[in-house]
Amino acid sequence: MTDPLAALYPSLGSSNGATGGVDDATLVTSIRTKAEESRRAQEAFVASAGLDLVRMARRLAAVFRRGGRLLTMGNGGSSCDAAHLAVEFNHPVTVGRHALPAVHLGGDVAMLTAVGNDVGFADVFTRLVIAQGRDGDALFGFSTSGNSANLLAAYARAKTDGLVTLGMAGGDGGRMAHSPDVDVCVVVPTPSIHRVQESHVLAYHVLWDLVHTLLAEAP
């Protein structure tokens, strides 16, 4: 007869409480489940925000056409997305697409730590917008909740300074979705942070493509 405790706690046979291995089939099932969740989130996003993404691409193409720059920002994983979006424009991987000027604000560690230490983390992007932003540039933020205080503060400043303000959010879009300081905000309508960020990657890859397609057209 099986020891009930061993069945309930596979770690009992181990001196450090580690459990036994998980079989490959179970792990593949876990991967498949998450991939399916991600696909459903992307479909819901395209259905609800497809036209907003096109609108965003038109605004951004107009910025580049006038000689403006793209400034990107986000916190944590969203900061990585902001860096990724900037590098897509700076370093196009498709032959025939030219480089466009983009700056990842979160890449300036000295500035972030200086403002964070001296003023406060809520102002780190605002100070960078003051230093870097010019009338006619675009400010692009990523926030899975849509409620990041430092992004919202930067948007307010950018709006005052004449920048085009764009963003991607998740869940119900939070404050970004309804802020008068954000010109276009596309929202991935799922509360899962991971699924939101996966849809964001899809969205900004497509955005990059749309912008180049629009720039190739006659103005």
């Binding site: 309930l8 009992l12 450090n16 876990s30 969740e37």
Partner: protein, 385 residues
């Protein structure tokens, strides 16, 4: 009242607190230690006893009690509440649940709000009550929201066995039962939480016995004392932990001998493993996915599995960003340090599950508010940043 009054005797309590003060002082001086001793009470029942009886007020400043994740409603993730709502709003379903799960917020609403909108959701005190409802309503589908640690799993297991024995085909279980041992290991592996000892969960141990905790001493060298829930139980358990520290040893000890056998309850354990098997993965609110910590019905009982009967969304949903239940559950934050504690989040309008459950740490702080205690750590915290 017998078995209560003798464990609330103020004179004995004073002696124990004197012992605690002496042992703590000796240890801190000998070890030249300035950082407080951090002891985690794993169970939400302990947290409430500590605040209800003001034990935090009589302990030395050098002892910090850290509130653990042993409140099953508190660790229920938003996605599972949404799944429960999905089942509860199906036509012909009577959804039965323990009362403290009713107000846990899902991503859009709670079970209580769904009930107000017309869903047939009923409070029960035992899974046996749910089975009785199934017998009385053969034309309806009755789902029991199975919640809880090893303490409540045996009653659910025996109810499912009973349903099978009676051939009841309109009773289903939505299992969210979980086990506490893998969670303690997850906390011990957390790099940002340095604990010096544990007050172990008395009721869980009544079922599983002492053996599953041995790795805590063998590998992590932390004293572990299974504790009862009356004030003198908690104080005596702290004395037992301090004695272990003082003597430089580490063991799993049983303070709650009047209820807990070292070998647990073999009959209950057998019922659990007859009916349930471990899930490979299960997500906890605030703590993320912990392997081998959730329980699901075995194939022999698949006919009673609500997850197989209803196509639940099973989405992983993040906690509200303003809510810091995760940090509270891991013991990294005190409830009152949460941004929304007592303002946006109250027992009447909870954002986080720790404020909902009668065993939740936030509810304990809110209901038994210790303002002087709250002020003291604030000063310490500000001085160190």
């Amino acid at each position: 009242m017998k078995y209560v009054d003798e464990f609330r005797d103020p004179a004995v309590g004073r002696k124990l607190t004197e012992q605690i003060a002496r042992l703590t002082d000796d240890y801190m001086k000998r070890e030249k230690r300035t950082r407080p001793l951090k002891l985690m009470e794993v169970c939400g029942g302990h947290t409430h006893a500590i605040f209800k009886f003001g034990l935090d007020e009589v302990l030395p400043d050098a002892i910090e009690l850290v509130h653990g994740p042993g409140c099953p409603v508190c660790v229920l993730p938003v996605g599972r509440v949404d799944d429960a709502l999905h089942i509860a709003t199906q036509p012909d379903v009577i959804f039965t649940t323990f009362g403290d799960a009713l107000r846990v917020p899902g991503s859009k609403m709670s079970l209580l709000q769904a009930k107000a909108q017309g869903a047939d959701i009923r409070t029960v005190y035992s899974p046996v009550d749910a089975l009785a409802i199934a017998r009385e309503n053969p034309e309806r589908e009755v789902v029991f929201f199975g919640l809880g640690f090893e303490t409540t799993v045996p009653s659910t297991a025996l109810t499912v066995k009973q349903a099978q024995a009676e051939g009841i085909d309109n009773f289903f279980l939505f299992s969210n039962h979980i086990t506490i041992v893998p969670t303690i290991k997850a906390i011990l592996d957390s790099p940002d939480l340095q604990l010096d000892g544990f007050l172990g969960p008395g009721h869980v141990t009544m079922v599983i016995g002492m053996r599953p905790y041995q790795f805590i001493c063998d590998t992590y060298q932390k004293p572990f004392v299974v504790s009862g829930f009356e004030p003198l139980d908690v104080l005596q358990s702290i004395v037992m932990i301090l004695r272990q520290l003082d003597e430089g040893r580490c063991a799993v000890e049983n303070q709650y001998r009047r209820l807990v056998n070292d070998d647990g309850n073999p009959v209950a354990l057998r019922a659990v493993t007859d009916v349930f098997q471990l899930r490979k993965f299960f997500e906890w609110r605030g703590l993320g996915s912990i392997d081998h910590s959730g329980l699901e019905l075995k194939d022999d009982y698949a006919a009673f599995d609500a997850e197989k009967k209803y196509a639940i969304p099973a989405l992983s949903i993040a906690d509200p960003k303003a809510c810091q239940c995760g940090e509270v559950l891991k013991g990294k934050l005190k409830p009152w340090e949460c941004k929304v504690f007592g303002t946006a989040c109250t027992p009447e309008t909870p954002i986080g599950s720790c404020m909902v459950s009668s065993e939740g740490a936030c509810a304990a702080y809110y209901n038994h508010g210790r303002l002087t205690t709250l002020r003291r750590p604030t000063a310490t915290r500000e001085a160190t940043t």
